[in-house]
Amino acid sequence: MAMAQVAVEMPEVEPEETFKMLGRGVNVHYGDKQALFDVSLAIRANQVTSLIGPSGCGKSTFIRCLNRMNDVIEICRVAGDITLDGRDIYSPKIDAVELRARVGMVFQKANPFPKSIFDNVAYGPRIHGLASNKTDLEAIVVQSLSQAGLFEEVKDRLHAPGTSLSGGQQQRLCIARAIAVTPEVILMDEPCSALDPIATARIEELIDELRKDYTIVIVTHSMQQAARVSQYTAFFHLGVLVEEGETEFMFTTPRDQRTQDYITGRFG
């Protein structure tokens, strides 16, 4: 009971500065259909926050708001405010493109460009001008591939097409590609849903290591995964943020009946 009390109090006592990103009153419409209802959620720096919930609950929609990927979808309207380091990312002064360089994204299905492994990773640094010469660029590519735990496996065939890798390797390539532009936040939208358990385990380890340098938000449909990799968890249901808090507390002592039902497998 006492522990639950702490969990409830926590967001209030925590100073806002430790939040890397903060969403307040976020509403999202796709055409006439509302996908998110008044969601407020804090993303803490250098922590892994996982978003869980049954399919269609809005978790992917929310994560795509965090780097304005929804801008690409024409019928999508986002209201409310979301800040990155205290600055509103939907303000007209912010360029979505620059934002996405700071808030990178890894997708559900690995989507390497049909180019070589090297070019896949080098693409981001090239368009953002992060390397002034070829040596620098190579250093960035090697560094990112190593950080993504892929370098040892591909170092002899950096010029093979990225699509020739296995599914798990492709996903790590996509992570390396995201890291290469030195983002501050990495968003992962169900990064393991298309992978086998071994590849999944590798990615989960990787996420834990990356936490040192990056803030990570991960959408997952697996509660076990959320429990394994994240420090904070938010539970979405039907477009509403039902509950959020430290992962440990959330899975042991949920405050909401719906969360309780979900984690005990009664629906979803």
Binding site: D95, I127, H128, G129
Partner: protein
């Protein structure tokens, strides 16, 4: 000269690009604020400023120069020589001056023409130098203005992308502009025609004899512009074509999509598509050379007089041309019918033939109808086959063995050869063109709508 100006502008633009990107790169090397945009965007920004305005200037200049110079030179001609001339004769003098200025001298041009030619050449030279000077100074001006804007925070990428966007919007308007161009130019000339000939006579008149005298002393018909016989001929030939093409095309599609083995289909389908790729002038030659003589001698054998440029020959060959349209559109329509329908019918114990006739064809009918409408529009607008194989004389008949003429044949014959542009005869071609455009447009819109609706039904 023009080529040099283009080359110089192009070179300067490329140099401007390198200058801009170099400058941006050096900015980033000496300051702490990171560049907002990659140096390449700064380069592109400067290049756009340097190259775009001057290219636009050159294009405008070139398109207006001839008209301006012609007007100027016509204004300087001595009144004594030109006072008595009509506008077209004055035009001839101007073109003679121009060819003399180019060094093409036929016979002994009049001295005033030689004078004017010398002046014309002089002006052309002056104009060319003016163009070069103003274009190049525009480049330099653009370069000077834009390179000063380069700072670390300058959003060059946004500016460049905005210019790209603008260009793309302009390009996507090209199709609209073309349609407008067609409608306006056809309507404008047709309007002039209807000032000579009342619109009711054109639409409902039963006699078409456009070969009227241009000069007083020529012997020709009295001139009649009743287009009904022309329309009738068009419909006759198109109808023959459709009678040939629809059954053959449709049955081929049914066979290929429902009965044929995949290997057979893989060979036959591309072969049928070759028929669609054969240029129409080839079909025209084929009609004149093979089909028409064959029909004529066949008619002779059974005692039927068949004209050598009969509607039947032209229609038959046009039908051959249209077969692949109908077959490929019907094929698409049949394949769009969900597999479940096919299986449902076969599962009830229906034969393939019953499935095709009672389930698939009715289901695919809207799609097939759309294809037939499109094919009909093609048949009406088809030109070369009828120009070569159909007649020139407008006869009001529905007998396929006789020679008839079509809208497109009349357009081509009225407009080829030497004709004065403002005579009713040439203007009539535009009135016919407008009618043709409206007819095909209606058919196309109807066809595209039917097909669209059909697609949505099974998507």
């Amino acid at each position: 000269m023009l080529l040099y100006v283009f080359a110089i502008i192009l070179t300067l633009t490329v140099l401007a690009y390198f200058h801009g990107s170099r400058r941006a790169a050096s900015l980033s090397a000496f300051s702490d604020t990171p560049l907002h945009s990659r140096p390449a965007y700064h380069g592109a920004y400067v290049a756009i400023w340097a190259g775009l305005p001057s290219q636009v200037l050159v294009l405008l200049w070139v398109s207006l120069e001839t008209a301006a110079l012609d007007a100027l030179i016509a204004g300087t001609l001595p009144d004594a020589e030109t006072a008595a001339l009509s506008s077209s004769e004055r035009g001839l003098i101007v073109s003679e001056i121009k060819s003399v200025a180019r060094g093409l001298i036929f016979g002994e041009p009049a001295p005033f023409i030689v004078d004017a030619a010398a002046r014309y050449g002089e002006w052309q030279r002056i104009a060319a130098w003016c163009l070069a000077a103003s274009a190049i100074s525009l480049v330099l001006l653009g370069l000077a203005v834009s390179q000063r804007r380069i700072t670390a925070l300058f959003r060059a990428r946004h500016r460049v992308e905005r210019v790209l966007n603008g260009t793309m919007v302009l390009c996507s308007l090209a199709a609209i502009v073309t349609t407008f161009g067609i409608v306006i130019s056809l309507a404008f000339e047709a309007f002039k025609f209807f000032q000579h000939v009342p619109i009711s006579e054109f639409l409902f008149g039963l006699s078409w004899e456009p070969q009227i005298a241009i000069r007083e002393d020529q012997v020709a018909g009295t001139g009649a512009f009743g287009a009904i016989p022309v329309f009738a001929g068009t419909f006759l030939i198109s109808a023959i074509a459709m009678i040939v093409a629809v059954p053959v095309g449709l049955m081929s599609a049914v066979y290929l999509s429902e009965f044929a083995r995949p290997g057979f289909r893989a060979i036959v389908k591309p072969l049928l598509e070759i028929l669609a790729g054969v240029p129409t002038v080839v079909y025209g030659f084929f009609a004149v050379l093979v089909i028409a003589p064959a029909l004529k001698s066949f008619g002779g054998d059974i005692g039927l007089p068949i004209a050598s440029n009969s509607a039947l020959a032209a229609g038959l060959v046009m039908g051959i041309m249209i077969i692949p349209f109908i077959s490929s559109l019907s094929d698409d329509a049949l394949r769009a019918v969900p597999q479940a329908m096919r299986e449902g019918s076969l599962g009830l114990g229906a034969t393939r033939a019953e499935t095709v006739l009672q389930v698939l064809l009715p289901a695919a009918l809207p799609g097939i109808m759309g294809g037939i409408l499109l094919a009909a529009s093609r048949a009406i607008g088809e030109t070369m086959i009828v120009v070569m194989a159909a007649g020139l004389i407008a006869t009001l008949t529905l007998d396929p063995l006789q020679s008839v003429t079509t809208v497109t044949v009349q357009i081509v014959t009225l407009l080829t050869g030497d004709t004065e542009f403002d005579s009713p005869k040439t203007l009539a071609a535009f009135a016919l063109g407008l009618t043709l455009f409206v007819m095909t447009l209606c058919l196309n819109v109807a066809a595209l709508r039917t097909v669209q609706k059909y697609r949505e039904k099974y998507d």
